[in-house]
């Protein structure tokens, strides 16, 4: 698996730390415990395209949002986390 970092170019997956699903959204301000259970524990876990956080630990140390196909490990898109669309449904 190789990830194309916007700063460093195509690099081996070895340089990146996988930091989990980017498909969940923190329910800021909610006082409904179920919202937090959903956020912390429940996942769609799709077989197909999946948005994830990766940290380029052994490179430029940028946080990235990577869209990857979980069936083939093919990288579909890479964006800097700060520029990635935040409109993800929980």
């Amino acid at each position: 698996m190789r990830i194309t970092c916007p700063t460093c170019g195509e690099r081996t997956a070895d340089e990146f730390v996988s930091a989990g699903s980017a498909e969940v959204r923190r329910p800021e301000g909610s006082d409904n415990p179920q919202d937090w259970v959903t956020y912390v524990y429940l996942r769609d876990n799709p077989a197909g395209q999946h948005r994830e956080w990766f940290f380029h630990a052994a490179g430029c140390r940028t946080w990235l949002q990577v869209t990857r196909d979980t069936r083939t490990h093919a990288i579909v898109a890479v964006a800097e986390a700060a520029l990635a669309k935040p409109d993800v449904a929980a």
Partner: protein, 416 residues
């Protein structure tokens, strides 16, 4: 046909031409009392215990591929019951007891070998933690022995005791732990269930779950609709996908775990040995190959293969523990799809949908649990309530806070 010494001799004398298929390759009937989704170890064990312990034989096991093609045929074949936490200890010990009498129960040679599982420790602090675990096991009636360095050296003189970054100081040994021929578990349970009338339907993928008025009505499959009074999900790495067919969202992510085997050598590793300073476990198959593995790759995956960085990491850990590994050639590596739950422990439970039952979240420790998982899941399905041994494996524990986190990693499935 019942297997015995006599049947072996008879078939040998007739040129082994008269062996019969081990189970019928059935097509799904129109309706069953229970449909089990997934013909892996857990699904087949569930079918066997449903038939044998609960008298429910009108059962169809629907498998999208061939039985044994998933994780039951892809693991490192280790059995053990060295768990610390309440909720786990008694369950895994029951599994060990079922392993010990499995071959007589299903009349099938599963090559169960209680060669011992030795968990190495590398520091004083780790020794104390392992002593605590061993004490918890013994208080629950599980065997455990704390070994010092000399005792470990007598068992495995080839380990790197002194010069490694993490010197081997001793180990916690469970003598009753060991290995089982994994394929034989699938085949043996399949044959035992089949003989009691269970249909094993291969290449029959479930594509939908029909729910009518909050109650399960059956499953859509690639071979048509199959009506069922009860539907039991045992789909391992694909649990999230089948549960989603009934509108359930699970506390599970699917990750890939790799395993490896070396070329065959003469007997060398006589136990299952685990490295305490990393995550590495090794044993030797009866064919002579060293079988070993380490961590999951760490990212969501439905591909039954991993990537090279993890291969390198596993080899490095193996070399740190056992430098002679460097002289061996690796023969094969493979990957399986693991249903990593959010606390590292499984789920065996009823669901909010009447007649729908869930068995999932085994992470990469499902093989050792196969008999007890089938035993408890069969009970849950037949009685429509949790079995006392699996009572802690509730689906709602994530909301109530009653997590069972052996490793203490928190809700990060790639760290369990």
């Amino acid at each position: 046909m019942r297997y015995s010494a006599l049947s072996l001799v008879k078939n040998a004398l007739t040129g082994n031409r008269n062996w019969k298929p081990v189970w019928r390759d059935a097509s799904p009937k129109e309706a069953y009392d229970v449909v089990i989704v997934g013909g892996g170890g857990h699904g087949l064990a569930t079918a066997h215990y449903l038939a044998k312990e609960h008298g429910i034989t009108n059962v169809g096991v629907l498998e999208k591929s061939t039985i044994g093609s998933g994780n039951v045929g892809r693991n490192t074949t280790i059995i053990r019951s060295n768990y610390l936490l309440p909720g786990n200890t008694a369950f895994y010990e029951w599994s060990m007891k079922l392993w010990e009498k499995l071959e007589q129960d299903i009349n099938y040679n599963a090559m169960i070998s209680q060669r011992g599982v030795l968990n190495l420790f590398h520091s004083d602090a780790q020794r104390d933690a392992f002593a605590r675990r061993g004490n918890a096991m013994r208080m629950n009636g599980v065997d455990a022995d704390l070994l010092d360095q000399d005792q470990v050296r007598a068992m495995a003189p080839y380990l790197d005791f002194e010069t490694a970054r993490f010197p081997v100081k001793g180990g916690l040994l469970q003598k009753r732990g060991g290995t089982v021929r994994h394929d034989a578990v699938a085949w043996g349970y399949a044959r035992a269930a089949d003989q009691r009338g269970v249909d094993i339907c291969q290449n029959c993928e479930v594509t939908g779950i029909r729910v009518e008025n909050g109650r399960v009505a059956g499953v859509e499959t690639t071979k048509g609709f199959v009506r069922a009074r009860k539907v039991a999900l045992a789909a391992a790495g694909h649990s999230s996908r089948v549960a989603a067919m009934a509108g359930l969202r699970l506390p599970i992510e699917s990750h890939v775990l790799q395993a490896f085997v070396s070329e065959g050598i003469k007997p060398l590793v006589h136990q299952v040995i685990t490295f305490g300073a990393g995550h590495f476990y090794i044993s030797q198959s009866d064919k002579g190959g060293l079988v070993f593995g380490g961590d999951i790759d760490g990212y969501n995956s439905y591909a039954q293969r991993g990537s090279l960085p993890l291969v390198e990491q596993v080899m490095e850990e193996g070399m740190a523990l056992m430098p002679m590994l460097g002289r061996l050639r690796m023969l094969r590596s493979w990957g399986g799809v693991m249903d990593m739950s959010m606390d590292g422990s499984p789920i065996i439970d009823v669901t909010p949908i009447e007649g729908l039952y869930l068995n999932a979240g085994w992470c990469y420790g499902g093989f050792k649990a196969t008999p007890a998982s089938g035993w408890c899941f069969a009970h849950t399905i037949a009685q429509n309530q949790r079995h006392p041994l699996s009572a802690a494996f509730r689906l709602d524990r994530f909301a109530s806070g009653h997590l069972i986190d052996e490793k203490g990693s928190g809700a990060m499935p790639n760290l369990h």
